[in-house]
């Protein structure tokens, strides 16, 4: 049997050989894409420099599909799916409890697990690519993906632990402020659902199993692979990964899932002052932003870099931190998804300075929306975004994120090859127009938690 020590020696030989051959140019990212008979869509980037492989499987099973009274269902389903697998007598496989599973992954030097974000439930596999190890890792991942046990006793324990952690989190100013903000921005939309003690108590393992069975199917899978495998290996591996999931008879028969409503725009401004005993006030300001498929995407990306995204050089950092010393951290961001995620400006400051910091932030925002950036700011943003493009792709991990994003958002396969051109084409007028279409400074939600003038 090949030992890990040998494996690692081989690993370094492989890399040494690669280095002698010279390095891959950043010219074009070759994404290979095909659809399997099951309906699963596969996206592959071969990268043979290191004997490792990352696989991400994405499903339309994020928390936006949580039932209104069971906020957290997607999240706990993903997490519980890694805490034990069922026995499979026909294959002669005994059940594995959470510890047996943890040991099995540790013994392979590999990892596999699921988590849910707003839009997706994602499963990530990382393994070395030596056939002996990789084969076993894919086997185990396929089993865990298809036959999670959702054990009742483990859920009782996890629920208790989560409730305790929620109560602890609710003593922290950042958590309380964010919750109030999400409520104000999203209202009744699932993006604003709050996982609570009550919502967790309404979730039982049967709900998880049903949620999982309905949504985790081969025909719904978007599978992204980055690492040291070729196309035929990747195809066989994805087939194997999904083989144990219950499949629809025909890919085309994969039924459409219910639509999820869009986020409603805010009708008017709101402002919440929340009393809180903390060393800092937390200030949040924002509104629903835009969807990932919005044609203004690049104008908003570049514009937000200038407004509050670009590290030490953004307008917000300059005005709030550099000029006035009001906050360690101040930022703005959009979070586009299948629905309009929030546009958020955030900062923390000594309570007696909260009003001043809020006022400065509002002025920066209003001016930016009214006038757009200067030509010089736009050029500086382009210099950074275009000049630093390679930094977005210089590891397998970063490539995986980018390619999975292309897969999930149905972007063209040559999206990354044209990314810098898209940025280059943006004008001051584009940004101004896009921000005016998307942001209404007069109708934003404001949360000030812990400020000196907090309401009783």
């Amino acid at each position: 049997m090949i030992t890990l020590k040998k494996i690692v020696k081989n690993a370094f030989l492989t890399i040494a050989a690669f280095f002698i051959c010279g390095h891959a140019a950043m010219a074009a990212i070759a994404i290979e894409h095909w659809t399997q008979p099951s309906g699963a869509q596969v996206f592959l980037v071969q990268n043979h420099a290191i004997p490792m492989l990352d696989v991400q499987l994405d499903f339309d099973a994020g928390s936006r599909r949580d039932p209104a009274n069971q906020a957290g269902l997607a999240s706990v389903t993903a997490s519980l799916s890694g805490m034990g697998v069922l026995a499979n007598p026909s294959r002669g496989e005994p059940a594995l409890d959470e510890n047996a599973l943890g040991e099995a992954w540790a013994d392979l030097g590999a990892s596999f697990g699921g988590h849910a974000s707003s839009d997706r439930m994602s499963f990530a596999l990382r393994s070395l690519t030596y056939p002996e190890l990789l084969g076993k890792a894919v086997d185990l991942a396929a089993r865990q993906l298809a036959e999670p046990a959702f054990p009742e006793d483990i859920w009782q324990r996890e629920r208790e632990t989560m409730i305790a952690a929620l109560k602890e989190a609710n003593t922290r100013p950042a958590t309380v402020a964010q919750r109030a903000f999400d409520q104000a921005v999203f209202g009744s939309h699932p993006y604003g659902y709050e996982m609570t003690e009550d919502s967790l108590k309404r979730i039982e393992v049967g709900h998880m199993a049903a949620f999982y069975r309905q949504l985790i199917q081969p025909c719904r899978a978007k599978v992204t692979l980055v690492g040291a495998i070729n196309r035929s290996q990747a195809d066989a591996m994805v087939t194997q990964l999904l083989a144990r999931l219950p499949a629809e008879a025909k890919a085309a028969a994969c039924p459409a899932l219910p639509e999820v409503a869009e986020v409603a725009p805010l009708a008017k401004a709101s402002e919440q002052r929340i009393a809180f005993d903390s060393a800092q006030a937390h200030v949040l300001l924002g509104q629903p932003g835009y969807k990932r498929d919005d044609p203004d995407y690049f104008a908003l990306l570049v514009g937000n870099y200038i407004l509050g995204g670009g590290g030490f050089v953004s307008r917000l950092t300059n005005e709030v931190r550099e000029k006035r010393g009001l906050s360690y951290s101040v930022y703005s961001y959009f979070s586009p998804g299948l629905h309009a995620g929030a546009f958020t400006i955030g900062l923390q400051t000594r309570p007696d300075q909260a009003d001043q910091a809020l006022q400065v932030s509002r002025e920066v925002l209003s001016r930016f929306v009214a006038d757009g950036p200067t030509q010089a700011e736009l050029q500086a943003a382009k210099d950074n975004l275009i000049g630093g493009f390679a930094l977005r792709l210089d590891s397998n991990r970063k490539l995986l994120d980018n390619v999975a994003n292309i897969a999930w958002s149905a972007l063209p396969l040559d999206y990354l090859d044209h990314w810098t051109q898209h940025v280059q084409q943006i004008t001051v007028a584009d940004i101004k127009a896009a921000f005016q279409r998307k942001l209404q400074p007069g109708k934003m939600a404001t949360v000030v938690l812990g400020g000196a003038s907090a309401a009783r």
Binding site: F12, A106, L326, A380
Partner: protein
């Protein structure tokens, strides 16, 4: 693979919020699981520049990017009482200009080059970095060398930035009960060692800090013989060496100040602190003084330090390891979470920590007893070969995975240099860890976990007073 929570001892501050958690986490993972096994693909090379400055270059040509780091062998442990936090404030002030590059301009130029940048301060070191397209290396070297030699700013810039640093302290420490408790624990564990002070500094020291305190600290410690440049990525070693001589090697050298040893006296009895803070969950942390791994030529202390790291991995190195199984599972579980960590190495004294959050209805005393019972079990019964093999397998695999990040490779080289370790320290460390036997793990479990070297901190949750006036309103009066 299991990722452990940051340990308070390896806490690292960085200049910008988002990256800081990452840094703290990485610092722990590094001490816990050092670098690649066997010989790496293209060896890093180390040179000494004309003025005594170190240069370390690690080519990795997978992508046309590079990372450039400047490391200083000076951190919060080099401060003295009354001016705690000065190393970190200086790190902030390094962005505030030179005679040729005005305040803010450094960051603007790095951004214009397509770069990303930040800086970090720990107990042991201070570092500055830029990630850039490889073709821009000379530009950032020139900028970094300029501020390393010529950092200069007016007092007003200092006053504003000091307020930013105080906000950082409020955010990281004052509104975080566990961070506050760890700060108090550190101050209780160490008597003479400068590790007893928080990296960010005590608030009253920050209030009292003067611009010249920072300038003096800079003059004393930012000298070529106390610095290393680390470059990794798509670079040519000879070319980097030429650039480094050009930008850094010509800077005048100065004598390094004397470092007082400030050795920690031997602890001779249990210490306990009770810490009250607004919180829902209690917590307990046990800190045992243990030997530090100082040298590959070392003796029993080094052997024990390695065995302690294996012990911490057997206790808490993977999902379903001993602490999780014994404390957080089953009908009589005592904890919601439990962890173990061995410091292993650093410029100052090292600790082995055990910690846990009690489950509902359980007490910190029960968690404390359960944590110690798990160590005692290993002292009595030893560990299985399967457990030993498992934690070693994870290290070997992680040595391959970490090749994916050029940034982390540079970081490991910098931390090894700070400690005076050889370039291949992380590879050699994994070899040594793999050689640790079950008997050695059993032996250290019996040797270092008595009461005399132990400090226990207990977090006593207090109700949050939502009606109370904000605590620090008065601090504003100073401004």
């Amino acid at each position: 693979m299991k990722h452990k929570a940051p340990s308070f001892l390896l806490h690292v501050l960085s200049r910008f919020g988002a990256a800081s958690l990452l840094w703290a986490t990485l610092a722990t993972v590094n001490a816990q699981v050092p670098s690649s096994a066997e010989s790496p693909p293209v060896q890093a090379q180390q040179f000494t520049l004309a003025n005594g400055m170190a240069l370390i270059v690690k080519p990795d040509r997978r992508a046309p990017t590079a990372v450039h780091m400047l490391w200083l062998r000076v951190g919060s442990m080099d401060e003295v009482d009354g001016s705690s936090g000065v190393a970190h404030v200086l790190e902030h002030m390094m962005f505030k200009g030179t005679p040729t590059v005005p305040a803010g301009e450094f960051s603007r130029r790095v951004a214009a080059l397509g770069g990303r940048e930040n800086a970090f301060t720990s107990q042991d070191y201070t570092g500055y970095y830029q990630q850039i397209p490889a073709a821009r290396l000379a530009d950032v070297m020139q900028l970094e060398a300029d501020r390393f030699a010529h950092n200069q700013w007016p007092d007003e810039e200092f006053q504003k930035e000091l307020e930013v640093v105080k906000e950082e302290r409020r955010m990281r420490t004052e509104d975080n009960p566990r961070a506050l408790m760890n700060e108090a624990l550190n101050a209780a564990v160490f008597v003479a060692s400068p590790y007893r002070r928080p990296i960010v500094g005590w608030m009253s020291d920050l209030d009292a800090l003067k611009p010249d305190d920072v300038r003096t600290f800079y003059q004393r410690w930012y000298v070529p013989a106390n610095a290393a440049v680390v470059v990794a990525g798509d670079v040519d070693v000879d070319e980097v060496r030429r650039l480094a001589e050009k930008y850094y090697g010509r800077l005048p050298n100065r004598a390094l100040p004397e470092r007082k040893p400030r050795d920690e006296p031997e602890q001779s009895g249990l210490k306990r602190i009770a810490f009250k803070a607004p919180a829902e969950q209690a917590m307990v942390t046990l800190a045992f003084k243990v030997p530090s791994f100082r040298s590959f030529e070392g003796g029993q202390d080094e052997t024990d330090a390695l065995a302690l790291t294996v012990l911490s991995a057997v206790l808490d190195g993977y999902s379903g390891a001993r602490l999780e199984r014994a404390l957080t599972q089953g009908p009589n579980r005592v904890a919601d979470s439990a962890g173990a960590d061995n410091g292993l190495w650093g410029r100052g004294p090292q600790l082995f920590t055990l910690s846990g959050v009690p489950a509902r209805g359980k007490t910190t005393q029960q968690v404390e007893a359960a944590l110690r019972e798990q160590v005692a079990r290993i002292a009595n019964e030893g560990v299985s070969e399967a457990e030993l093999a498992r934690v070693k397998t994870q290290w070997v695999a992680s040595a391959v995975y970490k090749l994916d990040s050029v940034f982390n490779q540079a970081r490991e080289l910098g931390t090894s240099w700070v400690q005076g370790q050889p370039l291949d320290a992380n590879e050699r460390l994994i070899e040594r860890l793999r050689a640790v036997t079950a008997d050695q793990v059993k032996a250290v479990a019996g040797k270092y976990f008595g009461d005399d070297q132990l400090t226990v901190a207990q977090l006593l949750p207090q109700p949050l007073n939502k009606e109370r006036k904000p605590r620090t309103t008065l601090a504003g009066a100073r401004h």
